[in-house]
Symmetry: C2
Subunit: 369 residues, 2 copies
Amino acid sequence: MKTPEQIFHSRDKRPHSDPEVFGRDEVRLANRNSGALLETLGLDITPTGTHYLLTHFDTPLLDAASHSLRFHGVFDAPYEMSLEEIRALPAVTMHVTMECAGNGRAGVSPRSCSMPWMYEAVGTSEWTGTPLRPLIERAGLRRDAVEVAFTGADFGFDRGQPHAFGRSLTLAQLAELDVLLVYDMNGAPLLPQHGAPLRIIVPGWYGMASVKWLTDIESLAAPYQGFQQVQTYRFRKDDNDPGRPITTIRVKSLMVPPGVPDWLTRVRFVSPGPTEIVGRAWSGGGVPVTRVEFAVDDVWQEAELLGAPGPFAWAKWRVNWQAEPGNHVLRCRAWDANGAAQPIGPQWDMAGFANNAVQAVDVFVGEMP
Amino acid sequence: MKTPEQIFHSRDKRPHSDPEVFGRDEVRLANRNSGALLETLGLDITPTGTHYLLTHFDTPLLDAASHSLRFHGVFDAPYEMSLEEIRALPAVTMHVTMECAGNGRAGVSPRSCSMPWMYEAVGTSEWTGTPLRPLIERAGLRRDAVEVAFTGADFGFDRGQPHAFGRSLTLAQLAELDVLLVYDMNGAPLLPQHGAPLRIIVPGWYGMASVKWLTDIESLAAPYQGFQQVQTYRFRKDDNDPGRPITTIRVKSLMVPPGVPDWLTRVRFVSPGPTEIVGRAWSGGGVPVTRVEFAVDDVWQEAELLGAPGPFAWAKWRVNWQAEPGNHVLRCRAWDANGAAQPIGPQWDMAGFANNAVQAVDVFVGEMP
């Protein structure tokens, strides 16, 4: 009798060395998870139902009426709170741009076998909930507490290890971050696939921190050892690298692809003449974007920054392009207030995490046939 | 200077002969389009935002307040109607199961280079709108009319041909089908990605007929020659086959994969013992499902049919399974009132259309480690 570890390791999980070749496991994940529609990047808010989705296991279908959140572990006064009670607390609404730590994985070579995101794992929503910090204070962190762990109702296996999806934050991170306990998205109750009825949002961090289907908040006297904290979501150069945890979002920008697409290749057809290009740029940790550049065939020009819907949300930018007949590659690149800039090509990471290399859009400028 | 046809044919579009190897164009489409979450198949209504999406071009962002629908062509009394006027007409709400004609394409070999759906391009929504037929009658079909064409605002290229997405129905089809002019989905205005502010729903047909972002209804004195009617969405055996148009949905069934998944492979882990399996079965043209069978390792048993939320919507089914330790393959199979049954393996079609072969779910039954 094989163990789950043997069963779930039976498939070929070696990295793909050919960037143009993908496997069935990757395509199954791509069919199931869903990416943003880049043509909607002009909108401050990603349309409901098109926010990117990366679900490790199955989407749990939880009952909002009976849902409660347990505060336990090394707290002085552990307690449980119903969703109804949480909804009655002071409410805050924030525009937050969230990006999957795996966004851009398909641009890194050799490519780790996982969800093969290109550019589309990003979105901005209006999240409504109550600040987490007062609820932690109410439970009373014991003096031996070092971290707080968040556990969701989604359960499954990864590399043979069964676990509910969980993540932790240190006390210093909790003190610094405006973590929100969220029940509404874009003015309506969370949809099942986005963590209904309760999740957290960790503004400025990659999406793995914003645990969905939240059931438990546990105060810990030792660092959390959950699979999704220590086994994955770490930057690693090779198999021997213990890795560094992934935290805040790296600076990045995307443009709305101009013109109209070819169905299969998504190459864009643009008519010659003046063309407005708009896009978005964002960074992590609440650090503002300070500059965006746009390039046609590697000739760069400054774009105009138009402001963001909130300190943790993407800024809009625009530029005028005089489209001339022929094939072109359009690119955009952002800088943030810390001086960080997007690299032109991907930085190496074993699992293809946090690839913030510039977007390249292939266009053909010509007269409509 | 190359033509759009040359540009957009420059990529390798040959069919893939290795069913385990996929190309970047296919993965880009899979990241962008989105499939159902099979774990929600127990619900009558697919949760908002998880209904499958297959968008040929870009999602147009249209203004509902100024949107209107033009009836033109060989009508006696062409007219235009605002969305507001359409919303004031008698309203009908229908549960309709929609499936993409390309669902199952990744199971057909050699595989046409397009959206590589496995099982997930299906969903059921509660659609609200007004019946189309009285609006056609009001425009008065001229005696020379033979078809009515529906055009959306989505525009792009396919095989070098620029076109707005459009489809037609013959007068006989229009007389027979309960085509609905739809503005609400699950009790709320259509989301942008589902055709806002106006689309049609053609119950019982594959999804290509249910034109989104509807702007024009044109009465034609000769058969419609739109790209999406005559160049694609046809069953073809080889390059020399002129093909047969794709119309009604073929009988099909899916189960909710039991237990919990492995993240990467989606192989299921199930604890030994009694396990309830639930799923859905549907057919096209309003033909009811009459029988569903469930198999463990090719040993078939009858499932219990539990009824459907409407005549054009999927029926629920259930069966008890005594899960025994080891590796198993679970399958399900449906029959409809016309005597049509799902084939065990895929039927050949050049473009991989309408593959209704049985679903196979790999499970590992064992004690939780």
